[in-house]
């Protein structure tokens, strides 16, 4: 939760696009951590014993999230690169032309 909150606040207050991006990654990884931790914690519960895949479900999810995050990083970094090329800046507040 702490990591997640740091990520959210980071997205909200930082203006550098790369930092914002890292904060997003931070949020994703905090969720990953949470999933793995809960998975381990609940692995011994009676519900988990009844269903053979129950214990590993969360860990499989984490792998998926990591794959998606990797893909997202490539797209996101590409966007930032293009952004810098066009505006010579990575300040997100600079990009406020899409409004009323």
């Amino acid at each position: 939760m702490i990591l997640f909150t740091i990520g959210v606040v980071g997205v909200l207050i930082r203006r550098n696009a790369i930092i914002v991006f890292m904060c997003i990654e931070l949020m994703l990884n905090s969720v990953n951590l949470l999933l793995v931790a809960f998975s381990k914690m609940h692995a011994l519960s009676p519900v988990a014993k009844a269903s053979p895949t129950f214990a590993s479900d969360a860990q499989v999810f984490v792998f998926f999230i990591m794959v998606v995050a990797a893909a997202e990083v490539t797209v996101g970094l590409a966007l930032i690169v293009m952004l810098y090329r066009n505006t010579h800046s990575v300040d997100v507040n600079f990009l406020n032309r899409l409004k009323y």
């Binding site: 406020n96 032309r97 009323y100």
Partner: protein, 634 residues
């Protein structure tokens, strides 16, 4: 039997086909071709109707079911036709007189352009189709199609010369008046459905169905149906459309007034005769309305100078007779009078058309006179028609009128007295018309005099045929008093009216009384005829002085003006009120108000879209937190 079923279907469908051919092909068909098609389809219907008539006569009524027309929940209305003696008589009259009018129209309308000519014939065919559907239907729903159809066609035909605004407004008047009646008819049908769950004629008039209806049901239904009939058959208070309907071409007037539309109301009541016999209150209403209509219309006819207007009011008055017969339970007499009236009134209109044709469009009788020697055939046939409508024995009108009068005498001598007075007026105004038109000296312009000519064969032939029918038409209903067992029409129709006859019990008037009644009505008619003959054969313009009462009559009792003041003007001011206050201020205000509120709100909300990504994310996070709190704590 299936052959017969197909043939019966053809009776109304043939004119429909004719309507489509002449209507769709109006730009390509030549005049003679569309006239030919229009007439031939009606002739074919006539032939089939005659076959059906023979079949009915030999082996009783025919019922032919084609398909399910309406099928909802437990309401099943089939599309079926039913031919019983009553229907077969009407079929013959409609197709027979209709055919003659088609033939006549070929001659009468020859000056129209070929496109308008085809249009005219297509309307005429559609009219015949609607009317045939009306009488051949076996339930109120299918009948209603025809009922509306004739209303529509009358509008189309009355407003046929639509470039004249006066004529179009006459058409509109007919349509609106008919709508008022249709509304009554429709309510009655709904009432029947809600009580009996069926509209089929073969079911609603049976003893079981009648047992399901309370007395107030029957009275209500019959009154509503009668409202429908007053509009279609031009009774008080809805008759005013009919005299205005003279705006249409003359053959149309003949078709509407003689053979078809106006008899629809009579047919409707004759068809529902059982109900009417069981509703004495409605019968009383009909009696009062019919007598009032008859006398009012006859008195107006005394002072009209337009030849067609006289005939129009005489139609209204004769319809009053038919309803008088219906109100006293003499259904056979009513149908008999419908039939004879179809012959002589069609003849009168067509004769008047022939006169107008010869006079080059002149309709005012003040400008006529002395046409006797110039229009020989027209003159003879018109004379026969006048004698017939005036009830001079032994022409057809005498028998039917006498039957009505003797039936009303049995009910109450007062009805009879008023009926005879009506007959007197009838004889008087008919011979006023005859004398002003054919006797005396010619009063028109010399140009008109030079152009006077007898009409072509296609016009005179129908006149001759109808004249023949007007003479012999009465012999199918010779009263018992003169020759026993000679009332063939009565015997033929007896099965249709049997349930009513059973309810009413035997009724006979002694032969001596009947002789006296006949003699009185005949003498009265002849006397009125002679007076009118003498008075108007020496007519010159302006020698007819109007008394105060005469002015009232000439102005048609100011009924139109009265309606204008009482109904039309208040309605107009109410509409103006609705338009200016409720519609523009109320409804438009609400609609526009909603629109401007939305516009204003969105203009304010727009500023939330700031373009700052951080702002969006913040709102999103706040939203999530709010959702979380709701989920967890509320």
């Amino acid at each position: 039997m299936s052959n017969m079923k197909l043939l019966i279907l053809l009776i109304p469908v043939l004119p429909l086909i004719g309507f489509m051919i002449t209507g769709l092909g109006r730009n390509v068909l030549s005049k003679s071709l569309s006239g030919f098609i229009g007439s031939v389809v009606v002739l074919a219907s006539l032939v089939i109707s005659f076959m059906a008539f023979l079949q009915v006569r030999e082996s009783g009524s025919i019922l032919a079911t084609y398909f399910d027309f309406i099928n909802i929940h437990n309401l099943h209305i089939a599309f079926d036709f039913f031919i019983d003696p009553l229907t077969s008589i009407f079929l013959l009259v409609i197709t027979g007189v209709g055919f003659l009018i088609h033939v006549y129209s070929i001659g009468y309308m020859h000056e129209e352009s070929s496109k308008d000519f085809s249009k005219y014939f297509s309307f005429l065919n559609l009219f015949v189709f609607s009317m045939l559907l009306l009488v051949i239907a076996n339930n109120f729903a299918v009948m209603y199609i025809g009922w509306e159809g004739v209303g529509l066609c009358s509008y189309l035909l009355i407003g046929y010369w639509f470039k004249n605004p006066e004529y179009t407004s006459a058409g509109k008047k007919a349509f609106v008046m008919n709508r008022i009646g249709d509304f009554g008819f429709l309510l009655a049908v709904f009432w029947v459905i809600s009580r009996l769950g069926t509209t089929s004629f073969s079911e609603v008039f049976t003893a079981e169905s009648l047992a399901k209806l309370s007395q107030s049901d029957i009275t209500g239904i019959t009154l509503l149906l009668f409202l429908g009939a007053t509009a279609k058959s031009a009774q008080l208070p809805l008759y005013t459309w009919l005299p205005d309907a003279m705006a249409g071409p003359t053959p149309v007037s003949a078709l509407i007034h003689a053979a078809t539309m106006v008899t629809a109301g009579v047919y409707l009541i004759a068809r529902s005769n059982v109900w009417y016999t069981m509703a004495p209150f409605t019968q009383g209403v009909i009696a009062v309305v019919s007598i009032a209509t008859m006398l009012l219309a006859a008195s107006i006819a005394l002072k009209q100078n337009d030849i067609k207007k006289v005939l129009a009011y005489s139609t209204v008055s004769q319809l009053g007779y038919m309803f008088l017969a219906l109100s006293v339970g003499a259904y056979t007499a009513a149908v008999f009078h419908v039939m004879t009236h179809a012959f002589f009134k069609a003849l009168l209109f067509l004769g008047a058309g022939s006169v107008i044709h010869a006079m080059g469009g002149e309709q005012d009788m003040q400008g006529m006179g002395g046409l006797k020697s110039r229009l020989k055939i027209t003159h003879i046939t018109m004379l026969i028609a006048c004698l017939a409508i005036a009830g001079i024995p032994p022409l057809s009108g005498f028998f039917s009128k006498d039957e009505i009068l003797s039936a009303s005498f049995m009910k109450s001598p007062m009805l009879w007295g008023l009926g005879v007075f009506g007959a007197l007026l009838t004889a008087f105004y008919m011979f006023r018309l005859y004398a002003m038109t054919f006797l005396g000296k010619f009063r028109g312009s010399s140009e008109q005099e030079a152009n006077l000519h007898e009409s072509p064969l296609s016009m005179t032939l129908p006149l001759l045929v109808l004249a023949g029918l007007s003479i012999v038409g009465g012999f199918i209903g010779i009263p018992e008093a003169i020759m026993s067992g000679a009332h063939q029409l009565g015997d033929f129709l007896a099965p249709v009216f049997a349930p009513s006859a059973k309810l009413m019990g035997p009724h006979t008037v002694s032969h001596n009384t009947e002789y006296i009644l006949m003699a009185v009505s005949a003498i009265v008619a002849i006397a009125a005829m002679i007076v009118a003959w003498n008075k108007f054969s020496k007519y010159t313009i302006g020698n007819e002085k109007d008394s105060a009462f005469g002015t009232v009559l000439r102005n048609k009792w100011y009924v139109d003006e009265f309606y204008e003041k009482i109904i039309v003007q208040p309605l107009k001011s109410i509409s103006r009120f609705f338009n200016n206050t409720i519609d523009i201020k109320g409804i438009d205000g609400v609609v526009n108000g909603v629109g401007s509120v939305v516009q204003y709100a969105s203009r304010q909300l727009r500023y939330l879209q700031s373009g700052q990504i951080g702002g969006y994310v913040l709102l999103m996070v706040l939203g999530f937190i709010a959702l979380l709190i709701i989920q967890l704590f509320l």
